[in-house]
């Protein structure tokens, strides 16, 4: 068969072109969620692009500031809704940092295991969606099949597949179920098998590789100055991972590698997520091995943790505790904190200000996606229009996080 890229003599028909403005989005199949790109094209080359993220506006930071601290959990669920458990844990840790409390060991391992499962589901979604947007529908279904297995575990543990609202200040809503360990280990094995198959499906496809390789490059210095973190930054060769650089929970006690990219293109960003899935699976197995089968999950502090319902109905002490925590909310000492964890797409930071009352005075969320999406302009400028799709997909913008 003849090669496709025959040298065509195009010099003879030079078409005069003028810059053309094209609106992509806010509602467009190439855009994840509601984001709008105003592109200035010269032929098929992008000269300039203006990325506008303000189309999804729920005002969620303000919403967080009108209830109690515990009522924030459902809101942070809806930041990165593909890995809500990581948001839940991140917010819990921020509140606990202000309170100066540390959850029991069992809870720490449990949070890590659930968090890494959430990270796997996040990366599977990103890589699957990216392949799908480039026309490869089978890998998407393949990876979502694995994601559904993880969500089965989540459903069994939390009662919800997507927005769990499972974190609590000072613990978790429930202790691990009896089947958690067995179920998780089985699922992790299945997921890794599916990831291997998915790799074979896409990485031997020349069209797929051609659309990613060398596309959407960014230098490490640019990525850092844009505030990039997470897989996108690591794909640019910077080995910054909050779990390694500033360990929280029990991350200093587990073994894992921080994969980094070499060429900082879309393919690197695609591959690094596969590599991280394997690392997360490794962490999950270590967590399962070290998760105690019994012992407290919540801290022993009546000012923070809800009493068991059976006691609420029968003893006045627990009724009072329940009343105070529900009606007034748990009180966090006046002050401010910046607490950060490794979310699905990078550093997920919470800057909280408390005035000592039961209601947050300020909840500022530093979502990794917001800053990464800010770099889209840099990534796609000079590329072809068709390259917007893989570039945008590889950045993994989550609309909920970009809510400003």
């Amino acid at each position: 068969m003849e090669p496709l890229d025959v040298e065509l003599d195009e010099t003879e028909v030079e078409l005069p072109t003028e810059p053309m403005l094209v609106n992509v989005g806010p509602s467009h199949p190439a855009m994840h969620g509601t984001v709008r790109c105003v592109m200035e094209l010269s032929g098929e080359t992008i000269h300039r692009v203006d990325v506008q993220v303000g189309y999804l506006h729920r005002g969620f930071e303000k919403m967080c500031e009108r209830g109690t601290w515990s009522q924030v959990f459902p809101y942070v669920d809806r930041c990165n809704y593909v890995s809500p458990m990581l948001n839940n844990v991140g917010f819990s840790l921020a509140c606990e940092k202000m309170l100066g409390i540390e959850v029991p060991e069992r809870c720490q391992w449990y949070r890590m295991a659930l968090g890494e499962l959430a990270r796997i589901s996040d990366h599977l979604t990103c890589d699957g969606a990216m392949a799908m947007e480039l026309g490869a529908f089978t890998p998407f279904l393949w990876m979502v099949k694995a994601r559904d297995m993880i969500w089965d575990v989540m459903e069994e543990e939390t009662g919800a597949r997507l927005t769990h609202s499972f974190g609590r200040v000072g613990g978790m809503a429930m202790p691990p179920t009896d089947q958690f360990k067995e179920h998780t280990l089985a699922v992790v094995e299945q997921v890794l098998k599916i990831v291997d198959e998915s790799e074979k499906l896409v990485l031997t496809n020349r069209i797929f590789l051609d659309r990613l390789e060398g596309v959407g490059k960014i230098s490490a210095a640019d990525a850092i100055s844009l505030g990039w973190t997470g897989p996108c930054l690591r794909a640019a060769g910077v080995p910054y991972d909050v779990r390694r650089a500033h360990p929280y929970l029990k991350y200093s006690e587990v073994e894992f590698d921080v994969p980094v990219g070499t060429s900082s293109d879309c393919l690197d960003r695609f591959l690094i997520r596969f590599a991280e899935i394997k690392q997360s699976a490794h962490i999950v197995r270590q967590c399962i091995a070290r998760l105690p089968d019994s012992g407290p999950v919540d801290v022993d502090d009546p000012r923070v943790v809800m009493p068991p319902k059976s006691e609420v109905y029968t003893t006045i002490e627990a009724t009072i505790q329940h009343f105070k925590l529900v009606m007034e909310g748990l009180k966090i000492p006046a002050g401010e904190v910046y607490s950060y964890t490794e979310g699905g797409n990078g550093e997920l930071g919470f800057y909280l200000v408390s005035d000592g009352s039961g209601t947050p005075f300020r909840v500022r969320i530093r979502p990794p996606c917001f800053l990464i999406t800010g770099g889209l302009e840099k990534v796609v400028t000079g590329q072809m229009v068709a390259d917007v799709v893989p570039c945008f997909g590889s950045l993994n913008m989550i609309g909920g996080e970009c809510d400003r």
């Binding site: 502090d301 009546p302 000012r303 009493p307 006691e311 109905y313 029968t314 003893t315 006045i316 002490e317 627990a318 009724t319 009072i320 505790q321 009343f323 105070k324 009606m327 007034e328």
Partner: protein
Amino acid sequence: MPTFKLDDQVIDYQPGDTIIQAAHRAGVDIPHYCWHPGLSVAANCRMCLVEIAPPPGRPAMLLDVLRYDEKKGDYVKARKPKLQPACQQPVAEGMDVKSQTSEHVKEARAAVQEFLLLNHPVDCPICDQSGECRLQDYWLEHSGKKKRMHDEIVHKPKTVDFGPTIVYDAERCIVCTRCVRFCEEVVKDPVLDKRERGNLGEIVLAPGRLLDHDYTLMTEYVCPVGALTAKDFRFKARVWFLRSVRSVCQGCATGCNSFTDYDPRNQTAYRHRPRENMQVNKYWMCDSGMLDYRRIHEDRVLAARIGGSTTTTEAALVAAAKALSSAESGKTALLLSALHSNEDNYALLELGRQLGIESVFLAGKPAGKGDDILRSTDKNPNRAGVLLLLGDKAPGNIAALAAAIDGGKVTTVLGVGSDIEDPAFASSLAKAKLIALVTHEGPVSQAAHVVLPASSWAEAEGTFVNDKGMSQVSEKAITPQGGSEPAWRWAISLAERLGKALPFKKAKEVKAASLVQGASSGAQA
């Protein structure tokens, strides 16, 4: 001023002060149930126990106790300092008192809290005190321990009818005796007493009596828990939904400082609570004052009327302006109200001045029962304020106005206020063209030719001068109900229709313009 140390903080005291009094004055809270600044010391709740360091060079007074050692599984001998109730212990110069900083005090308070809740029923969900209950606050602050006694609690009488206003629940009662001491010391009517001891203790009525003096609702107010509840407030609202404004009671000329608690969601007032002001009402209010909030919603006039039938605001204003402008010169009179604020009366006076109205009359509610505790016989909250506004010019009373109308000297009356001293004068008022700005149904609204609905004191900020000549501001709680507006705003609208302009437009401006000379400012707690 002499000083002592409380938790290493230096605090001033006056000779004779107890520790809790001095701390209270300095704004430091020592937890307590039975102590009340306005009542005698009972020292029975033991919540305010503090540790007092021995004088220099003297050994501490230590008690031999048995302490349970969990490792040994047995009691071991130990010693601990003798703690003192802060409410009873007078302060001495340089005394070193430990409250929050002493482990012994913390332990004692947790134990007291455990004892108080030992037989407490699981009533928070159905208790009106919930949300402002000391048991709830202190459990979280000072105990936080789960229940250890799993036997059936001691049951005592519930929903005991104490009288026309109060219901008693002995199971919720911690027998602090605040209510007993209030009746005895403030009202001088020892109708309540305590019987039995320990966990059988309860509050009882004197044989053959009901709790029916004029300050019964104060017993509910001083109750730190939900043992005494007011029939008026029972199951009406949950306190955490209520917001408060600082108001002035409208029940009589004493001008007790109060809080008006209202629900912002349905714009409804639910109760009055006393607000501490040592120069006026100290810590107390009377029953009629506490229940006076009901008039905010009861019998209100909420729409304009002409000749007794409801009409639009516009039509009423046109009719009022026509009546005022067509009145024979010199035959128009102003009727001010001792129930309305300085702002309302001043606006009307100013309108009258611009219209050249000479004769001014003042009416209000008839005199009633008074006492030497709080209540004044004058049931009007602002008579002194209106008199100060008028200065040298003495207003005529309602009888004089009736006589002037009957004698044909007055044909048109522009009035504010819904009450007159005697409803019998209403027939005379009806003979004149009466344009009335009224809040409530009554003789005036019946007799009026044109009625404009004025909002009550709870719907606008207003200044009231009490019988001691103290000028006090009552804040706005809810938005004006129905078609009502503050009377001063009606005065502005009327002036516009008559081609006049009053020198104020906003609440702030009318407040500044109506400031009276000669009234002292009431301290706001």
